[in-house]
Amino acid sequence: QKEVEQDPGPLSVPEGAIVSLNCTYSNSAFQYFMWYRQYSRKGPELLMYTYSSGNKEDGRFTAQVDKSSKYISLFIRDSQPSDSATYLCAMKNSGTYKYIFGTGTRLKVLA
């Protein structure tokens, strides 16, 4: 079993839809949770990061962490064609510098 599981997609949604992207993990020691957006042939761009549990909102993006269920989510409201990309989750615990990544979910927002 992988430490971090992420549905690879592709996920296709119409413009304006609310998108939900998710990752599950097995290591209960993870405390730092990140979401990256990666356009084709580009480096990952940090979108959101959350420490421990709870929600964090930034514009159209909301990140949620449920440590009891070992489950994190990224919600995108009013999705735009420019949101079409691969979304990677990443996480780590406080005792290491090593980040564990999901395989990424490919999102397509259709105009």
């Binding site: 690879p8 730092y32 990140m34 990256y36 042939r41 580009k42 480096g43 990952p44 761009e45 940090l46 990061y49 420490y51 421990s52 990677l88 990443a90 780590k92 406080s94 510098y97 090593k98 980040y99 990544f101 999901g102 395989t103 990424g104 490919r106």
Partner: protein, 116 residues
Amino acid sequence: DAMVIQNPRYQVTQFGKPVTLSCSQTLNHNVMYWYQQKSSQAPKLLFHYYDKDFNNEADTPDNFQSRRPNTSFCFLDIRSPGLGDAAMYLCATSRDRRGTAQETQYFGPGTRLLVL
């Protein structure tokens, strides 16, 4: 703007011909990472530096080496590239802020390596 810079963006090399990829950062972060990413896969950590302290992943081939001459620069050397080494190589940085909520990682744009 503070950032992570990688050069070149595209590199073509021949099978077995050594190649060096470079990364520089203006963030003054003390941790630097090299990842390999193949199509539709997660980034795979090759190694990281905490300041000058080098940390190799157990499954990183000996063919891959790294140098960090100072805080700002880090190099990835591939001594004898094989066809299977064709990939995107990503440099990333983070600041050691253990025990705070501020730990996170920033990536450069990547170098796409093609091996002929």
